[in-house]
C-alpha cells in the first residue's frame, strides 16, 4: 500500500474499516489522509450516518397506523 492515499483508496479503506479490522499500517495511512482531507472526513461521518439510519429503519412510528 502506498504511503500517501488518494481519496479513492481512502474511501475504500473507510468503508472496509466498517466491516473488518484494519491493519495498523492501514489505520495510520488512513488517519494521515483523513486528517488533511475534508472530503474524506465528510465521507467518514456520512457512511457512519448511513449505518445509524439503517439501524433506525423504518424510522418514526406513525403511531401504529392500521
Amino acid at each position: 500500500m502506498a504511503f500517501r492515499l488518494s481519496c479513492k483508496e481512502a474511501s475504500k479503506l473507510i468503508s472496509e474499516g466498517m466491516d473488518r479490522r484494519l491493519s495498523l499500517a492501514e489505520r495510520i495511512t488512513l488517519r494521515l489522509h483523513v486528517g488533511i482531507c475534508d472530503a474524506c472526513t465528510r465521507f467518514t461521518s456520512q457512511v457512519g450516518f448511513l449505518r445509524r439510519a439503517l439501524k433506525t429503519f423504518p424510522g418514526p412510528d406513525d403511531p401504529d397506523r392500521r
Binding site: D38, F49, D64
Partner: protein, 194 residues
C-alpha cells in the same frame, strides 16, 4: 388476557405487520417473499408468545424472529438462483465516482443536521428509493450488513462470494447510497428546504 399480561395476544402481534413488512421488503425486494417471511414470523410469534420475555419491546422481539425468517428466505432463493458473480466482482464501476488523479469527482458536501432526518418519515422513503436504485445483490449485501446486522463472513457465505468481493459490494453500496441521498435528500430534498 389483559393487555398488561406479558404474553402478547395475536391481535397485538398482528398490529406490527405493516412495520415488519416494510423491514422485510427492504431486505428481500420481493413482495411475495416478504409477505411469506412476515407471515412465518407472526405465526412463530403467536405459537411462542409465552416465551416473550418482556425485556425488549414486542416489536424488537418480532424483528428478531423476522430476521431468521428473512435469512431462511435468502437461503432458499440462493439455492434456487445462485448469485451472479459479476455483480460483486471488481470495482471498475466505482471509477465513475473519482477523477483520474484519485480525487472525488464530486466531493461529499456537508449535510445539514442529518440526525434530524432520522425523525422524518420522508427521509426513510428517500432512503428506500436510493436502495432500490442499487444493483440487487449490492443492496442485499448492504442491508444484510446494516439492517440485519450480519457479519461480513456470514454475508459472503449466504451470497456464495469471496470476502473481498463482499467488501467491494458494501463499498459500492455505501458510495451509491451516499451520493444518492446527498442528491435526492440533503441537497434538493425537503432537508434542504426545511
Amino acid at each position: 388476557m389483559s393487555p398488561e399480561s406479558s404474553a402478547p395476544t395475536p391481535l397485538e402481534l398482528e398490529r406490527h405487520r405493516p412495520y415488519l413488512l416494510r423491514f422485510a421488503l427492504l431486505q428481500l425486494r420481493d413482495r411475495t417473499a416478504a409477505e411469506d417471511a412476515v407471515q412465518d414470523a407472526l405465526l412463530a410469534a403467536i405459537q411462542g408468545a409465552s416465551r416473550f420475555a418482556g425485556q425488549s419491546s414486542v416489536r424488537t422481539w418480532l424483528v428478531g424472529i423476522l430476521k431468521h425468517k428473512i435469512i431462511d428466505s435468502i437461503r432458499k432463493t440462493a439455492r434456487e438462483q445462485p448469485v451472479e458473480r459479476l455483480d460483486g466482482d471488481g470495482a471498475e464501476d466505482l471509477d465513475a465516482f473519482f477523477a483520474g488523479d484519485g480525487h472525488f469527482a464530486d466531493a461529499p458536501v456537508e449535510w445539514a443536521s442529518p440526525e434530524r432526518s432520522l425523525e422524518e418519515r420522508r427521509f426513510f422513503e428517500a432512503l428506500e428509493r436510493c436502495l432500490q436504485a442499487l444493483p440487487r445483490n449490492t443492496a442485499s449485501a448492504f442491508t444484510m450488513r446494516e439492517l440485519m446486522g450480519l457479519e461480513t463472513e456470514e454475508i459472503c457465505k449466504e451470497l456464495g462470494i469471496s470476502t473481498s468481493n463482499c467488501w467491494v459490494m458494501l463499498y459500492r453500496a455505501r458510495m451509491g447510497l451516499r451520493a444518492c441521498l446527498e442528491r435526492t435528500w440533503f441537497l434538493s430534498g425537503p432537508a434542504g428546504g426545511r
